[in-house]
């Protein structure tokens, strides 16, 4: 069975539970953590590659735990024509992938730091952030 990629979002109170352990132990899934941003007492995000026959059961378990589960999209790009470098995305972006260079106050997007949480997509007033499937 081909590996599947998913994007997970944890609330702050879920970030200290051994959720990945349960996926491996109880559902016999092979987990490859591609990206993770998990900190105590903070909302966390994770990108997983999962292989195993009990994939759907594993996802149901995650949802029962209140973890947000979405299929992984390829990535986020910035439409440079539309972006006005206002900065409204920068305090929303959880990983600092969208950040302000000071003192110029220019807004940059460092794709390597993007965990594809998509919070910027709707928070951008210019609709400059785009999803690539």
């Amino acid at each position: 069975m081909a590996p599947k990629r998913i994007f997970l979002r944890f609330s702050a109170d879920k970030s200290e539970q051994p959720i990945i352990y349960r996926l491996v132990k109880d559902y016999d899934l092979i987990i490859n953590i591609l990206k993770a941003n998990v900190n105590p007492q903070k909302e966390g995000t994770m990108v997983l590659e999962i292989t195993g026959d009990r994939y759907s059961e594993g996802l149901d378990y995650l949802r029962r735990q209140g973890v947000g589960v979405q299929p992984l999209i390829e990535g986020i790009t910035r439409n440079e024509e539309r972006c006005t470098m206002c900065g409204a995305c920068t305090a929303i972006c959880p990983t600092g992938a969208l950040y302000i260079k000071r003192p110029e106050m220019e807004v940059y997007f460092k794709e390597d730091n993007c965990i594809v949480c998509q919070l910027c997509i709707k928070a951008c007033p210019m609709r400059a952030m785009e999803v690539q499937f």
Binding site: C86, A88, K122, P125
Partner: protein, 397 residues
């Protein structure tokens, strides 16, 4: 040479290609280098800029008459309604108007992907716009329905008239509640998760002329990439100098401008349809105002730095929506631009919703227009109310 100058003297220098024009940022550096008196003598004009969402914007349109003629009773441009309670083929399209079938906030937060501001941007881009109108029919205007496509070049007039733009200062918005809120200052995370502010600080036009010594009716400005004029003071124009509890001055707040200009000579780079999640559609507008350095006092105000200018920190979770007075303190634009402020003892990340890079570009463009002799200054027909007039907002009963 005295720092006293007249509009006529400055314009003569502009025509001769000899005027000394600097942006507000450059003036700050010049004052630090040479001192206020010398800088005030040397500089003729200071240029400012701002690029922000400005909801109180819109365009008066005259479509011209079809044959047979029509007295438009209802009109829609790309399904966005415009106001037609004026003459037969005149309408006013407001930036914050949305299509009648927009889901609004029924599934909160609504996206507001398209509205009047987006139509204005597409008009300026010369894109075809669907025009639909209905009418009740009169003897002189018998037609009852119209469905056609227009572009900006096809219609008689398109006059951008924005009743309230270029807000002098704005709240720094935070959220003390325990849920994410969706405001006109962007998405505010719960429990002081972030702080949003919205002016260009030391570049912003009305922060540089707090006593309205130069900006008035007829002041020629950069508007949406073209030439515009200050038409009046804006709605809710309550200019004041902020003070803390000890009486220390914290820079100006409360002034606004009503501006006007021919949309046909503007550019979509400086007029952009904008969507605020959970709040609404609007238009981002680029405005630049030249400030003539008529005397040293004007230069001193125009040289105010980010560290001299302050924004009140206000809770948008509870206090602001319910009109509970008071603030959570004041923070300077220097602090806001550093990326973090301290509110109620907690460090809070800051972000602007107004583009500083585009504000800087506007100030540079206006500077080059003046240096090239393409843009002369106008002496106001009448100055606007200043903090000395003590205008105060009313509370609706």
């Amino acid at each position: 040479m005295s720092a006293q100058k007249t509009y006529a003297e400055i314009n003569a220098k502009i025509k001769a290609g000899k005027a000394v024009v600097v942006t507000a940022e450059e003036l700050i550096a010049l004052v630090e280098e040479k001192g206020l008196s010398k800088a005030a003598r040397e500089v003729d004009v200071v240029t400012t800029g701002t690029f922000s969402p400005m909801c109180s914007s819109g365009v008066f349109l005259n479509f011209g008459h079809p044959a047979p003629r029509i007295k438009m009773h209802r009109v829609w441009l790309n399904d966005v309604p415009a106001y037609t309670g004026i003459a037969a083929v005149d309408a006013y399209l407001g930036a914050a108007e949305v299509p009648e079938n927009d889901p609004l906030n029924r599934h909160h937060p609504g996206e507001f992907r398209y509205g009047g501001g987006h139509v204005i941007q597409e008009l300026v881009e010369r894109k075809p716009i669907r025009l639909r109108a209905t009418a009740y029919g009169t003897d002189c205007y018998p037609r009852r329905e119209l469905n056609t496509t227009i572009t900006l070049d096809d219609i008689n007039e398109a006059i951008l008239f924005n009743p309230r733009n270029a807000y002098q200062n704005y709240n720094c918005a935070v959220n003390l509640s325990s849920r994410t809120i969706y405001t006109y200052l962007g998405v505010l995370k719960p429990n002081l998760g972030n702080a949003h502010y919205s002016t260009a600080g030391q570049l912003s036009p009305l922060l540089k002329d707090p006593h309205f010594q130069t900006i008035g009716l007829g002041t020629r400005i950069f508007l949406g990439g073209g030439i515009g004029y200050v038409a009046w003071h804006g709605t809710q124009h309550f200019p004041a100098i902020q003070k803390d509890e000890t009486g220390r001055e914290l820079g100006p707040a409360g002034g606004t401008l009503a501006v006007i200009g021919d949309l046909k000579q503007m550019s979509a780079r400086w007029l952009r349809g904008t969507s605020y999640l959970g709040y609404g559609a609007t238009l981002s507008v680029g405005i630049g105002v030249p400030i003539p350095v008529l005397n040293e006092s004007i230069a001193r105000w125009a040289a105010a730095k980010d560290s001299d200018l302050y924004a009140p920190v206000v809770d948008y979770g509870e206090a602001y929506p319910n009109r509970i007075p008071g603030t959570l303190g004041y923070v300077s634009y220097a602090e806001l631009k550093s990326g973090k402020i301290t509110v109620l003892g907690k460090e809070v990340p800051t972000a602007p919703v107004s583009s500083y890079p585009l504000a800087r570009e506007i100030a540079q463009i206006l500077k080059s227009w003046i240096q090239e002799g393409k843009f002369l200054l106008t002496e106001p027909v009448q100055l606007l109310p200043s903090p000395a007039d003590g205008l105060k907002p009313k509370v609706l009963g």
